[in-house]
Amino acid sequence: MIQSWLTGTTAPLLAFQTSSFWMPRAGSLHGPAIDSLMRVSLLTLAAAGILAQILLLAGLFLPRERRPRFSPAWRWVASIIFVACMVWMTVVAENLWSTIRLTHAAPNAVQVEVTGVQFEWYFRYPGADGTYGAIKPNLVDAAGGNPLGLDPADPHSHDDIVTSVLELPVERQAEIRLRAQDVVHGFFIPGMRVMQNATPGMPSQIHITPTRIGDYAIICSQLCGLGHYRMHAILRVVSQQDFDTWLAQHQAASKEN
């Protein structure tokens, strides 16, 4: 208890030294641009905040005769500087948003479907035919090995691969189709700087390009029930070669079934 109290009280100081109190290292194409916008915005606003707090403290403690006299015009100057900062930030941020979200996925993107279910993530690859098989809700049977309710009557579903780990090749775009089976879930990969809700009845698409090989945590960011906190999975970014091998293994395994 005492030890945790000690580490606890020094936590804010540690915050600036260890990376665990900051964004995890980015591993996606647009990660560095987002991080740099985040850093610069935080620093600009922190500077404005510190300046304002100094004015407050001076207003409270500094004797009136020792205060510098400002002309009333500084209020307008401050307002204009604030607006200028906002405009600049918005232009950069909206440009980035357009680059990432207002574009279609590349034609050669890896296709993968993510399904959120209380309290699991499932990932489905369309297999060699490139088409996802049909899904029937009444066939959903997690214990029986068909958590998504794949319809065996649909030939497209025969080569579909369903996994509990998301594996993606590095330096290649992945087009992710988001679904939810029961309630709204939040698909969040902090290391990829990507978050989007998976809403039942409303499939949506996002795309990301991993740039660094490694493991990344996938967590749920939208309250989904009592197991919300433990709804996590792993994104494994590997070389294209490793990805092909992995896919082939799973393909073979799914055929055996």
Partner: protein, 564 residues
């Protein structure tokens, strides 16, 4: 000519008629504050249980045992609902408006002849619709009772957070607490909405019809402007919320499908519905939810402007006054077109996200203009360093710290990392929780002499202020770092989560300890309140040399006024 009825001595009313079943605007105001007090104490205690569990998930709570994940979510839902509805909305707007608004307008009935005919004393200061106003607090009280009874229903309290997104909230299969507990939550919020609508109507009618003869709109104090604009926002906001609650209730029990997807596999059971949309709830809820933030914070902003002028010993410059009124109205209007910034990651069209992002940045401008005016007033100096002033400065400090992260969250691209993380928790607790609480404290320290004829202890007040300020920053500032690290809010515990989150445990433990300090510091306030009420130093009729009309009353203590 005076109505002869008024000359006869009135029969003294019973205690019940004076303090419980009364339409006296002051008593109703105090009743609102008492409801808010019950809510804030409960909400704060619940938050300590949550903080404890988040920091030391495996330890046993005395008198409770182990907190289960669903218990944590029930605590979280109750805490959020209590604080947002029953504290930050009911106290500064409904409560303080009822308490102070009519006296700041000091208006009698528009026509003296009507007053004579109805037998109403010509000089009586009251709300325009006193019965409706009094009824509103009863709805609020029943709503609180309904909400606080949900933990004792089978299944316990709802676990879907104060935002209650369907389908999590639309079917009992979604988890414990989602059957009776969720129904109770919906009933509580519906009752609260009705109460708030009544209060808003009565505030609007009072401002429109009961201003002191000759008082023009541009002569009203800024507090009145804020209550007026907030009441204008409440009408559409709470109407929509009430409708949404009705729709969700109907989805749950009457087979409609407003918010249900066509097919849903909940807990292994296949549910078929007509094609509704879970996104519709989010739109309706946030159409209420964002204006709600301004309903809570506008009265605090108006109070700040007024009190800064009072403690500087002068009235507002006409130009500053006009700027502040314009900023208040601008916030009120823009407040209705920014709700989509709560939904950037909902899967909405990215073009829509862009629009909401832009409008949200625009709304930062009137707020920044107000802040710059306050800073100018504070820096110009000559402020009397009283306890209410300290709390107003605390409000400004927290409003700035909490507000500055707003433009970051307003950018869809940055929000797509920070959404639903502790960064957001830090943002809204600083600007809505802490800042509004500090303004409420300022209001209580400031108007206490008006209500009781006594002064609150300044020495205790200063201690209360500094400990609360340190506590508020110690609790909520480190949360920015947890959020930047990617820790989602609403996680019952960090053990059993993804590995990178477990590194944040020391930070969360620090926050928990600071939370205990922050809550403990409030005991000073309660001691001060009780002690000063009974044994406080007698106050002069206008202890702060204020220029607003509520201080002009010939006899201004609570029993004297309500006995009339």
């Amino acid at each position: 000519m005076t109505n002869p009825a008024n000359l006869e001595p009135r029969r003294p009313r019973s205690w019940l008629r004076r303090y419980v079943f009364t339409t006296s605007h002051r008593v109703v105001g105090v009743q609102y504050l008492l409801v808010a007090l019950a809510a804030v104490v409960t909400g704060a205690v619940l938050s300590l249980f949550m903080r404890w569990h988040l920091a030391w998930a495996d330890s046993l709570i005395p008198g409770w045992g182990l907190i289960k994940p669903e218990d944590y979510l029930a605590l979280l839902t109750l805490h959020g609902t209590l604080m947002i509805f029953f504290v930050t909305s009911a106290a500064p707007q409904n409560g303080l408006a009822s308490l102070i608004l009519p006296e700041q307008l000091r208006g009698t009935r528009p026509s003296d002849s009507i007053a004579r005919e109805s037998g109403e004393p010509e000089s009586e200061v009251r709300m325009a619709l006193p019965f409706l106003n009094a009824l509103s607090v009863w709805f609020t009280l029943f709503a609180l009772v309904a909400l606080l009874s949900t933990p004792f229903l089978p299944g316990g309290a709802a676990i879907s957070g104060w935002t209650s997104y369907p389908p999590l909230s639309s079917n009992a299969l979604a988890g414990p607490g989602q059957s009776y507990g969720m129904d109770g939550w919906l009933i509580a919020i519906a009752l609260f909405s009705v109460g708030s609508l009544m209060s808003a109507i009565s505030v609007l009618a009072t401002v429109i019809t009961r201003r002191l003869h000759g008082m023009k709109w541009m002569q009203m104090p800024l507090t009145v402007w804020s209550w007026f604009v907030a009441a204008c926002m409440m009408l559409p906001a709470f109407t929509v919320l009430l409708a949404a609650c009705g729709m969700l209730f109907s989805d749950r029990h009457f087979g409609t499908s407003f918010f249900f997807p066509p097919v849903d596999v909940m807990n292994g059971v296949v549910l078929h519905h007509a094609a509704g949309s879970p996104l519709l709830w989010q739109n309706l809820f946030w159409f209420f939810g964002h204006p709600e933030v301004y309903i809570a914070v506008l009265p605090a902003m108006g109070l700040t402007t007024t009190l800064l002028a009072t403690f500087a010993g002068h009235s507002l410059a006409p130009r500053t006054y006009r700027i502040m009124v314009a900023a208040t109205i601008a916030i009120g209007l823009l407040g209705f077109v920014v709700w989509g910034h709560h939904m950037f990651v909902s899967g909405m069209n990215p073009y829509v996200g862009r629009t909401f992002g832009l409008v949200t940045i625009v709304i930062a401008i009137p707020s920044a203009v107000e802040v710059i005016q306050w800073l100018a007033a504070i820096f110009a100096g000559g402020l009397r360093r009283t306890t209410p002033l300290l709390f107003i400065l605390g409000f400004v400090s927290l409003f700035i710290t909490g507000g500055l992260t707003g433009p970051i969250l307003a950018q869809p691209i940055l929000d797509a990392y920070l959404h639903n993380t502790f960064f957001v928790v830090a943002h809204f607790h600083l600007i809505m929780g802490m800042a509004v609480s500090f303004a409420l404290f300022a209001a209580i320290y400031y108007w206490f002499p008006l209500l009781t004829g006594k002064r609150m202890s300044e020495r205790l007040g200063r201690w209360h202020f500094w400990l609360s300020l340190i506590g508020a920053y110690a609790v909520f500032f480190p949360m920015h770092f947890a959020g930047l690290a990617g820790e989602p809010r609403q996680y019952a515990q960090l053990t059993g989560t993804a590995a990178f989150l477990q590194n944040l445990l020391p930070l969360e433990q620090f926050i928990t300890m600071a939370a205990f300090l922050l809550v403990a510091a409030q005991l000073l306030f309660f001691w001060n309140l009780a002690h000063s009420w009974i044994r406080g130093e007698k106050s002069t009729p206008n202890p702060w040399d204020a220029g607003t009309l509520e201080w002009e009353a010939p006899e201004n203590s609570l029993p004297a006024r309500s006995a009339q």
